[in-house]
Symmetry: C2
Subunit: 292 residues, 2 copies
């Protein structure tokens, strides 16, 4: 099934978040409709119940690491597959109602992660300002747009437009390679226009029996087939401390048969339980240096 103007994509709102910026790329490219949700759980539940055809969810950031709640939801909703991924550079802007000099700004508002990612810049340029945390970058922009004070928000280019704000300073991130990786998920076999795709990736998820060397044995199945892992992540199983579930991303080998052999070997391995393929999807990230 192809994406169309009748396809709905859900994202974590409110309007103007980085998730909205990411979803907007698909809106512009494929003409699909967007629908904000107020939490990750309601968003993933909406995909599961087919209230939306697809959703875009952040899964890791190059500074902050994994978005644990998203990984846990992907593990719990067995109907949902990963159908694509997107790596979006994150550029923070300082936004205010009007063009005021930095030394007039009395308060800066944003989500704690955005504040953390601009900490050095804030210490250098706005040491006199109060820092106030909000539940999203979009809420910060909205609050600044409604205030009569000399306040500023750290937010996206999109929230600048939505809340009619001015950009006081651009690209204020302390780390210049700040990138978030989003996954596009669905219960349906939606397909994108796959021109120019050079690589596919696969994400699998499994638990391991608690025996010394189990993980080593699993990684051996990849190594002996020369399959490149791009990421390995552990999450608690929520039963007791020290019990983990693993997520592995790998680059699909040219020969499809090798993946079938790998999955068959993992399924036969008595130390691996509840193995599930979350999806095979076009890779927007693959770089031959990114392997472990």
């Amino acid at each position: 099934m192809k994406l169309s103007k009748a396809t709905y994509m859900g994202y974590l709102g409110p309007e103007g978040t980085f998730s909205h910026c990411a979803a907007d790329i698909y809106k512009k490219k494929y003409g699909l409709k967007l629908q904000p949700y107020s939490s990750f759980i309601t968003l993933v539940e909406a995909v599961h119940k087919k209230k939306v055809d697809t959703a875009i969810v952040p899964v890791e950031n190059s500074i902050e690491g994994s978005v644990g709640v998203v990984l846990d939801l992907l593990a719990n909703y067995k109907t949902i597959k990963i159908i694509a991924e997107l790596a979006l550079p994150i550029k923070h802007q300082l936004l205010a109602k009007e063009k005021i000099p930095l030394n007039k700004i009395r308060r800066v508002m944003s989500h704690p992660q955005a504040i953390g990612q601009c900490r050095l810049w804030l210490n250098k340029h706005l040491p006199h300002a109060d820092i106030v945390e909000t539940s999203s970058t979009a809420i910060a922009a909205k609050t600044v747009s409604e205030s009569k004070e000399h306040w500023a928000a750290i937010g996206t280019a999109m929230s600048k437009i939505i809340y009619k704000l001015q950009c006081i300073a651009e690209d204020i991130n302390d780390y210049k390679n700040n990138t978030t990786r989003f996954l596009i998920i669905s219960t349906q076999d939606l397909t994108f226009d796959n021109n120019n795709i050079q690589n596919y990736k696969t994400t699998i998820e499994f638990k391991l029996l608690h025996e010394p060397g189990s993980l080593y044995e699993v990684l051996g199945e990849f190594a002996k087939r020369k399959i490149n892992l791009t990421r390995i992540e552990s999450r608690p199983t929520k039963t007791e401390l020290g019990q983990y579930r693993f997520f592995i991303d790998f680059v699909n080998p040219c020969n499809e048969k090798i993946i079938q052999e790998l999955l068959s070997a993992l399924n036969k391995n008595k130390k691996v339980s509840t193995l599930r393929v979350l999806g095979s999807y076009p890779s927007s990230l693959y770089n031959k240096n990114n392997t472990t």
Copy 2:
């Protein structure tokens, strides 16, 4: 150096947080003095600058997973060592100014993690109440103690005492095995009273060259010495997406020489860079089933 009444331990405040509960165990056992800090960075910086002798920091929770910011700080402050660990069961209580029936409670306040961990209980018992997020469980308890409304906080037994609140419902966690693992860190060689310690653990941290099979090779060094890994965690290096730093916890083998051989083999491995031992410390967790 032994812990004494002149030893200061820092923790993430304000008073009444779970970190405070954990620190209080050491206060009672060793008579040391406690000092709250307002953020993880100021806390770890205080240890580095020897403003406090030691600090207690949460590193993973059985439901929420790793505390990424703490792992990143441990990797960045090379002077700091792990000297002990503590696994503390997390029990949430519903606290109010007076003993009121559940159906009279109009608002429940707490840290988003505590709210998330009691979500099913709240949906069942307080479906009519507003849920309001605060920056810590202690702030929620303080706000409830100062309000004249029928509000309640999800908090610790300690914040109940500090803010003179009543317990309306005990142990309201959805997952009964909710446990947080804390690390005790210092720049000094502080030692605890080590009676009855059966095992020691070691935590190491390293980066890997980006070559297929690197991680497999590293895990092989553990497997061939039959060393039990209790945890493996990856964190972004903050340079670019797809670049990770690894943290491995393992149970020390009875024969100390084996650790020296392991570390020497890892140091010689050209795919491993910036290997550092964060500490060898008495294990409060080791269970022969907890291995990967």
